[in-house]
């Protein structure tokens, strides 16, 4: 869309705003929809923030798992459903063995890894056979794997695979129950390790931010090369101001009687999500990250320059599937109930919708998109049933609207992308 605006004349601020809004149409539209929904839902701000923090801790990991395949030019990996299955297999095993708490969670992490790697490898192989149609293939693959998953856990467990456990199995002794309660087991295994109140969390974030700002000031005073000057300057100002703002705001909350004081943030989960973000940045700067990008830009060029593009593609999917498996572990330990045959089904769709709402596209995705998208999409999740009820007297309407938005946003952004590609193809 950007090319529609005149490039020849000097860009005024107005042009910049115009270009910005055209490029981020979906995101801006969502901010507006979310705001309207929030307004009509008449929720208290504290309740909303609490819900939102829970949901970010629950879902951000899964959304972040999608980024690497996008870099590698494989589009949105609907097959993270398989990763989620691997995570659930581990959870079922650990629950069966009765290992609880963070120890149980660690064992889940260990068990799910090889399963997810195998799934990812097979997915990658399949996607290499269907180049150009990766997204529909991974979508159908998700459905197909779901069939196999049901075959194993509904038919084989208890009949072919020996297993005895009254709380997990159906009364006939064959097949797992539809929902498995993780309370007293894996529920909050990681979330409850350390929980800080919201003001305290904000204070800590503020302090860290000020430290980074300070470090940049130190670097600036010691003298930096010219080409980095503006960057460092910007960093030191931004981080310091943001840090100060956080600290001041946390004081404001603590001294007021706001309900925000009662919100307790799962620190360990948040830190791990932060580490995953760093991992994503880190990997895109290493050799393999460069390879991902080269393959993503042009497979032929990559092959000519000696990169084994098929292998790189498989690696991308393996990493994505593995992260999805762990993401599902975080998701379920927070949720506390494993819906044996349903928890994984919509993982792909929701994560992808969130990523796209954040402003990502089939060829472009970064951490910012993932985090912003998670916040916006889950805002919609929280407000839409209540807003639907307040506006039309029916919560169901809000839920349908939410489903429409999730499907619609995926369809729309895939469509826009394909259309742009077609227009570019004509120009060449």
């Amino acid at each position: 869309m950007a090319e529609l605006i005149g490039v020849n004349k000097k860009a005024t601020i107005w042009d910049k705003i115009k270009r910005f809004s055209l490029n981020n149409m979906v995101t801006i539209m969502f901010v507006i929809i979310c705001y309207i929904g929030f307004y009509y839902s008449e929720l208290s701000f504290a309740f909303f923030v609490n819900d939102l923090i829970t949901r970010i801790a629950r879902n951000a990991f899964l959304v972040l798992a999608l980024i690497i395949p996008v870099l590698a030019g494989m589009g949105l990996n609907f097959a993270i459903v398989l990763g989620a299955m691997a995570g659930q297999v581990a959870i079922i095993m650990v629950t069966h063995w009765g290992i609880v708490g963070w120890q149980g969670f660690l064992i889940c992490v260990v068990i799910s890894a090889p399963i997810a790697i195998i799934f990812g490898y097979l997915t990658g192989k399949l996607l290499n056979k269907t180049k150009g149609q990766e997204m529909i293939t991974s979508l159908i693959l998700g459905f197909f794997a779901n069939g196999l998953y049901q075959l194993v856990f509904l038919i084989m467990v208890g009949s072919i695979i020996p297993m005895e456990n009254e709380t997990l199995l159906l009364s006939t002794g064959v097949g797992l129950r539809v929902s498995i309660d993780l309370t007293g087991g894996l529920k909050y295994a990681i979330d409850d390790l350390i929980r800080w109140t919201l003001p305290r969390t904000l204070m800590m974030i503020g302090c860290v931010s000020i430290l980074i700002g300070g470090f940049n000031i130190y670097k600036y005073t010691k003298g930096v090369p010219n080409y980095l000057k503006s960057k460092v300057k910007l960093r030191m100002i931004n981080y310091s101001i943001a840090g100060l703002a956080f600290v001041i705001y946390s004081f404001v909350i603590t001294n007021g009687s706001s309900l925000l004081n009662n919100i307790r943030v799962p620190i360990v989960t948040m830190v791990i999500i932060g580490l995953l973000c760093l991992f994503n940045i880190f990997i895109s700067k290493t050799k393999i990250g460069q390879d991902f990008r080269t393959v993503g830009q042009d497979r032929h060029v990559a092959t000519v320059s000696g990169i084994k593009s098929d292998k790189i593609r498989v690696t991308a999917i393996v990493i994505s599937t593995l992260l999805a498996a762990w993401g599902q572990l975080f998701f379920l330990q927070n949720l506390g109930t494993l819906s044996t045959y349903g928890s994984h089904e919509q993982v792909g769709m929701f994560a992808i919708a969130a990523l796209l709402i954040g402003g990502a596209s089939v060829t472009k995705a970064n951490i910012g998109h993932a985090l912003l998208g998670t916040v916006l999409f889950h805002t919609l999740f929280i407000v839409s049933p209540i807003a639907g009820k307040n506006l039309f007297g029916d919560a169901q309407l809000g839920e349908y609207f939410r489903a429409f938005v999730a499907y619609g946003v995926i369809g729309l952004s895939l469509g826009m992308h394909a259309w742009k590609k077609q227009l570019q193809g004509k120009k060449l």
Binding site: I136, I155, G408, L414, G415, H417, A418
Partner: protein, 346 residues
Amino acid sequence: MKDKLHVYIKQFGLPRIIIVTFLLSLCVLAVIYNLSIAGLLSDTLVRTGMHGVLVLAMVPGILCGIGLNFGLPLGILCGLIGGLVSIELDLVGFPAFTTAILVSIPIAIVVGWGYGVLLNRVKGSEMTIATYAGFSAVSLMSIGWMILPFKSDEIAWIIGGGLRTTITLTGRYDKILNDFAAISIGNLTIPTGLLLFLIAMNLIVWVILQSKAGIAMKAVGDNPRFATAAGLNVNKYRTFGSILSTVLGAIGIIVYSQSFGFIQLYQAPMFMGFSAVAAILIGGATVKKASISHVFIGTFLFQGLLVVALPVANKMLTAGSLAEITRIIVSNGIILYALTQVGGGE
């Protein structure tokens, strides 16, 4: 000889061999378990007729080059509107059925035209986008079903709050085709009307495909560049194919509903496209090639498999829903196989 066999297997496709073998072994099991073969056969015939038109809707889509039409729910929604209108008008019997079709066709033409225009803009990723176009249309219409101003007690909840989830067709056009001139031989019932309708629809599509427009459409689907060189308007004929496919989807769901005895609204149409896609692929179609015979063979095999699997699975295992799982694995497995055959590898 061995080479010949190899070529034959390759043409027929490994998954199809597996499916046919699976079906045959199920039939053997059915005989062993003493199930009524005639009953199973008549069920299969009914379900073939029931799903046949929906599967037929795949043919124009594949031939005009938009690939497997995962956007079938769009057509289905148009058909549902037609079905509801005919009840709202308080019609009964054949007039009701015909009105349903006649109302839905113009709607389907408009929707199909829009759908075709959309797909022309996204060449190369039609299937993914069609899937999501279908999904989002179903969700949007779910809102629509809650607010559309239908008044009839049979359709809408009396207390308000939109339309019913399932609408009974008893006394309207329930099984009107199935029972038309049905022949009973012992336990075997042949739903003559239903099958005749399916054959008639196939005939109409066949005639369209032999017409000038049909041949042009096939040329466009086969090789767009060649078609352009020959002076054909590629986009126009792709749109034509989408319209045809959407209209058939609309008629298909009305036939399906009358045989099923209920109209299902809200989330029900979401995954109907996938079954239809799977059926035509089992019949021997590919992402690029399809014919009328594939419709018959595919629907019969796929529905036969499902019909026989259910009682056999129930005899084998009391617990679980093996038949449903079979459906998921078989239908998605065959779609995956078809996608790997597109030849995307360079």
